[in-house]
């Protein structure tokens, strides 16, 4: 509405006709503009309806107080101030930071593996295929699978006992400290194949002669990795790093759901699970939405780099 008012005011004031050049190209532009608008409409409608509108509604709901299925009332900043005194919320964000602290492992482990495969090791195609298999398994399936494997009498503990590491055979999913570690380890098992695949894609862009030259110059594996491969692979490493940074926090829901349900205590409570729990189990929509908005801000800050990168890449003209 404001746009049409402005243009009406403009045309009332405007006295000179537009320059002839613009006038000539105008019909073509207009037609292409309408076509473009029509083509982007489905995607825009999807993004607005299922992302932007829910986000706005989430912000609105986060300022409301409600319980059960009843009506809600305006609560101001109550939900947000409540979070700072809520030990569960604080624990969940502290756990989130702990998970983020494991990022170096997420970034380096697949890198090392992909470089090992990339040197055309015997059977490298087989290993490449095998490493991606865990990623194709649904996280909820992974979670239930590992609940059986990590159980006190499961294969992991049996293995530890068999090799004489009895003291390490603990209740992986039920310890105050071990539970979060187990959760992250299972998540890493589930996602490292995606990292290997991503790095391999990046490695394929490095000319083979470069690596060969480094090898002939007598550079060892680690030397080649850090002095040749990593610098040349910087865009891929950056891409995978930001993907992990924003991902580790939102990939864990099905695993928490199947493995620990946030426990023991709040040891594996993470914001994404807490949002679900607060909203659908405790039926506290306003508070759940507030935690959701906090999570959104947390993730948005981490993923703003990838968005910037993607926008630059996507709008770059090749010539």
């Amino acid at each position: 509405m404001s746009i049409s008012t402005a243009s009406a005011a403009d045309s009332a004031v405007a006295t000179n006709p537009p320059p002839p050049v613009r006038r000539n190209r105008r019909p073509l532009h207009a037609r292409e503009w309408w076509l473009g608008a029509l083509l982007v409409l489905p995607g825009m409608a999807l993004a607005v309806t299922f992302k932007l509108v829910p986000l706005i509604r989430g912000v609105i709901t986060s300022f409301e107080s409600s319980s059960g299925f009843g009506d809600s009332s305006f609560a101001g900043w109550d939900n947000f101030t409540r979070m700072f005194d809520d030990p569960v919320v604080l624990a969940s964000f502290r756990n989130a930071l702990l998970v983020v602290a494991t990022l170096p492992v997420w970034i380096v482990l697949p890198l090392v593996l992909s470089v090992l495969i990339h040197q055309r090791a015997p059977g490298w195609k087989f290993f490449r295929a095998v490493y991606f298999v865990p990623y194709t398994i649904a996280p909820i399936v992974v979670g239930i699978m590992f609940r059986q494997i990590l159980s006190p009498d499961g294969p992991i503990n049996a293995l530890l006992r068999a090799v004489g590491l009895e003291p390490l055979a603990i209740e992986w999913l039920n310890g105050q400290n071990s539970a979060l570690f187990s959760l992250v380890a299972v998540a890493l098992w589930s996602f490292f194949g995606l990292g290997v695949m991503t790095y391999l894609a990046g490695l394929a862009t490095i000319p083979e002669e470069v690596l060969e030259a480094a090898y002939l110059d007598g550079a060892g594996f680690w030397r080649r990795l850090f002095s040749v491969v990593v610098p040349m692979l910087r865009p891929t490493v950056a891409y995978w790093s930001v993907l992990c940074a924003s991902g580790v926090l939102i990939w864990l829901f099905p695993l928490i759901y199947a493995l620990t349900q946030g426990g023991p205590g709040n040891a594996t409570m993470l914001p994404e699970y807490l949002v679900f729990l607060t909203t659908f189990q405790f039926l506290d929509r306003g508070y759940g939405s507030a935690i959701g908005i906090a999570l959104f801000v947390f993730v948005a800050v981490l993923s703003i780099f990838s968005v910037r990168h993607m926008f630059k890449e996507g709008t770059r003209k090749p010539r």
Partner: protein, 277 residues
Amino acid sequence: MNRRHSAQIGRYLLVFALVVVAVAALYPLLFTVVSSLKTQTGFARDPLGLPAGITFENYVEAFKRMNMPRLLLNSIITTVGGLVLSVLAAMLIAYTVTKLRFRGGKLVFLFIIITLTIPSQAIIYPLYQTVLDLGMSGEYQGLILAYAAFGLPLGTYQLAGYFQQVPDELIEAARVDGAGHFTILFRLLAPIATPALAALAIFNFVWMWNDLLLPLVIMGGSDSKTLMVGVSLLSGQYDVSVPLVSAGLIVALLPVLIIYLVFQRQLVSGALAGSGR
């Protein structure tokens, strides 16, 4: 000679390391398969060893208990629907942004990419509310549209990157030859972007088929619930035996695994091609 020796040893070490990781990657799967082939008592007697006798009883029971055919159908409908819709919408936007003189194209592109920062986990209640208001809660179209929206940013980004590399002259030439926009998009650009489309299709398939949160919230306990929601119910039932659960898990993971093994080459070449930029 010495150098060759140490190179040889290095090679053994390399393969050894790769094998260790491969075993770690496959063992959980193997354990689950083996468990699913044991009888209840057989598992209780020897939970870790190989089964004394192989039984497929658990698969029959899991199929019946979980109403597997219906769950599989639901998953196929929502996954394929979400996949096709998100890729189509992404193609249209990518084409407009890179190949049309469309003012505001950058803004559209930026908006779509920015929605990547909105994870479903953070807005799950208002998303549910929106689906409910549209009358699509518990309906296929609710989940399909949500999947399409969440698959859009990455798809648009990947395809835009691909279309961008196609020289404008090629498109001008096609236009002079009388090709319309849809001919250009589907007959000229799509074939060029086949690797990206294949990779996109497989990644989206894996994600949508395996996702739990969206179907859990949108489908709830309805008859349209997906396979993963059905599987998640297994995690709460402690009366269900490990062999039975294992059989259910194997059925749930098999479709994606098969598709992955069949389309593996396309996935790799797609990932390779996508990173060429």
